[in-house]
């Protein structure tokens, strides 16, 4: 034990010192959580990747990429390349004509074939096309970094655009389901009694329903609009959040600060929304983070069955479905969308796990 009294001068009197003369600073829950999150490499990697996806998605309109719905039918199934589309088209035609000539036992091309190739070369350098945006460009000079699909659309643009749709559905869905779940769960936990048991009965019944089957029927029968998809997913996904929040609230509602609030005249609404819910914020944030990937997966699952987002719109699920049907000959149509989606899901899951470890007070001592 050192002697802290002698060191406490008048100047520093507002700074608290510990027994080793070091200044002690109060650390809030959030600072503490952030410090722990920073030490978790996987979670930080996830966070950086998510920021990257967010920047790309938000800046998509000003990025120099092609339109996601512009079809150039001559550019079907071009492989990923940094060279212009015209060169790839020419190579493919050249290869086909030579293969044909070889099959017929000729080593030289005949006049018709040579004419065809030279015509193609001319058109590559001169042919213009008016795009959907109204501008006119030398269409065969376009570059498709990640190749094109069955209608000659740019895969990169479709992945970025599909990502916007998927991430938006994921975020909105997660926020909606968490909002419903938090409000109902908190009220149920705080009020208790008949209201609580009715709520929990209802949640139990909903749990025993094969709800994904109902969602599939719902989408097949009521039409495949994005709003329907969103609605169908949101109404079934708040159950778990409601249960977890209810449990948290029940364990918090007899604490001293709630009694203090009640004795100073605060009503149910104030106690629930100003005192109890903010204290369960950690759990809520973790749940929202972990719900985003599960929503994206659900949307992709439905799109994969042909029940989700409809053309010309795209989502990652739609792109992967297209890719599966074309993968035997054109595997890049599967690889790139699948990689884009998987990386995002990984990142969200890593961040969610990291946040849970960082915000869980029980893991505080296991630093």
């Amino acid at each position: 034990m050192s002697n802290p009294v002698t060191n406490t001068t008048a100047k520093k009197s507002n700074i608290v010192l510990n027994e080793f003369d070091q200044p002690v600073k109060g650390v809030s829950l959030w600072q503490d959580a952030w410090r722990r999150l920073k030490k978790n490499h996987m979670a930080m990697f996830g966070l950086i990747m998510i920021i990257f996806y967010a920047v790309i998605s938000l800046s998509a309109p000003i990025l120099p990429i092609h339109s996601y719905k512009q079809q150039v039918l001559e550019h079907q199934f071009l492989p990923p390349s940094t060279r212009p589309a015209g060169e790839l088209m020419y190579e493919r035609q050249d290869y086909l004509i030579h293969a044909l000539a070889k099959k017929e036992g000729r080593s030289e091309l005949n006049a018709v074939e040579l004419k065809k190739l030279s015509d193609l070369k001319d058109s590559i350098d001169t042919e213009k096309k008016v795009l959907l945006t109204g501008e006119e460009i030398l269409v065969h000079h376009r570059v498709y970094l990640l190749g094109t699909d069955s209608l000659g659309r740019d895969v990169l643009a479709r992945i970025i655009y599909g990502g916007q749709v998927s991430i938006l559905i994921g975020l909105l869905g997660a926020i909606t389901s968490v909002l419903i779940g938090v409000v109902l769960g908190a009220l149920s936990g705080y009020i208790g009694g008949t209201f609580d048991s009715l709520m929990m009965r209802f949640v139990d019944i909903m749990y025993s329903l094969p709800y994904m089957l109902l969602v599939i029927i719902f989408m097949a029968i009521f039409g495949r609009a994005i709003s329907n998809l969103f609605f169908a997913l949101a109404i079934v996904s708040w159950l778990t959040v409601a249960r977890v929040v209810r449990g948290q609230i029940i364990s918090l509602k007899n604490s001293e600060y709630v009694e203090a609030a009640r004795s100073s005249g605060a009503g149910t609404g104030r106690i629930v929304f100003r005192h109890l819910i903010p204290n369960t914020a950690g759990v809520i944030i973790v749940y929202t983070t972990l719900r985003v990937p599960s929503f994206i997966m659900l949307e992709a699952f439905l799109s994969f069955l042909g029940l989700g987002v409809q053309a010309p719109f795209a989502s990652w699920g739609v792109l992967i479905q297209d890719g599966v049907y074309a993968m035997t000959t054109y595997p890049w149509l599967l690889w790139f969308p699948a990689a884009a989606m998987t990386l995002f899901l990984f990142s969200m899951n890593f961040l969610g796990d990291g946040l849970r470890d960082a915000l869980d007070p029980q893991s505080k001592n296991k630093l």
Binding site: L214, A220, L305, G317, V324, M327
Partner: protein
């Protein structure tokens, strides 16, 4: 204990009743029906068809009639497929889905718990890291990505497994990729859950006592730890069942397996009311029975439950 089982078993009836009721009215709410098509049908003919299928009666009468038929085990005729009724289609496709689902679940639970046990015994070694990495992949990567990727590698590039089809044409090889894909997410979750709960048990006092008595690790694991540590896994089985049912719908789509899932999706598109109802009832019955089984197993493993 038998009282507890009986009470739970009786609880199945109202649950099934609620599911059938919700589905019936939910489907009928929708605009259009199985007989509305692009081609105009003469109103009199439409009326005749509807009379044949009792669709001109009030909804409530239809509901009671349907309920009576279902209790007798008759799902009625299909509205879209001729010649056979719904029972026939379900009888033909259900075994395929059941074989796939059961195998996937078995692999998920046995291998998952095995991986969890190994990871907990060799914490922070390569065994642990390997199985937990596989688990992370299984949780984050959706089925419809894993399935096609495996199909591309093993069926298209290496050409050692069939891309699609069923046992009758391809032999047992046809099952390998679909079953493995279907089980991966549940293997992953079971491995993570059981690792955490084995780790917790291994630090407890009774394990220390057992070690002090000089028992072998294998005896400690299987005789002492396994029963208690499997509780979280058993309670996860309920969600796993419903996940495998939904997963099998996608798997049957990818690998073109003529199981119940394909009939279900197809009938949802066709608005084939009786077919949708039939498949949903069969799926729900499986789900509800499995959940009942889980509760019973839980009651055996954790005697505190049945006193509640």
């Amino acid at each position: 204990m038998s009282k507890y089982i009986l009470r739970r078993a009786l609880g199945l009836i109202p649950t099934m009743f609620i599911i059938v009721t919700i589905c019936f009215f939910f489907i009928r709410l929708a605009p259009g029906g199985p007989f509305s098509s692009e081609k105009k049908i003469d109103p009199q003919i439409l009326k005749n068809i509807q009379a044949k299928y009792h669709m001109d009666e009030p909804l409530l009468v239809q509901y009671v009639r349907y309920l009576g038929n279902v209790v007798r085990g008759d799902f009625g005729p299909s509205y879209k497929y001729k010649d056979y009724d719904v029972n026939f289609y379900i009888g033909r496709s259900l075994p395929k889905s059941l074989i796939m689902g059961t195998l996937a679940l078995f692999i998920a639970v046995v291998m998952g718990m095995g991986a969890g046990m190994l990871s907990s015994l060799r914490q922070n070694t390569w065994v642990d890291y390997l199985s937990m990495s596989v688990a992370v992949v299984g949780i984050s990567v959706p089925l419809f990505v894993i399935g096609p990727v495996l199909m591309y590698i093993f069926a298209i590039k290496l050409n050692i497994l069939p891309t699609s089809g069923w046992i009758d044409e391809q032999g047992l090889k046809a099952l390998i990729i679909p079953v493995f894909t279907l089980s991966l997410p549940y293997f992953a979750t079971v491995a993570r859950l059981s690792r955490a709960s084995f780790l917790e048990s291994l630090r407890s006092d009774y394990v220390r006592t057992a070690r002090a008595k000089g028992l072998k690790t294998s005896v400690i694991m299987f005789k002492h730890v396994l029963k208690g540590a499997s509780l979280p896994v058993v309670s996860y089985l309920g969600p796993a069942f419903s996940g495998i049912i939904t997963g099998s719908i996608v798997i049957e789509q990818i690998f073109r397996i003529p199981g119940l899932g394909r009939h279900f999706v197809q009938s949802a598109f066709n608005r084939d009311y009786t077919m949708i109802m039939g498949t949903v009832i069969v799926y729900s019955l499986i789900l509800v029975l499995m959940n009942f089984l889980v509760d019973v197993i839980y009651g055996f493993l954790d005697p505190r439950i049945s006193y509640k």
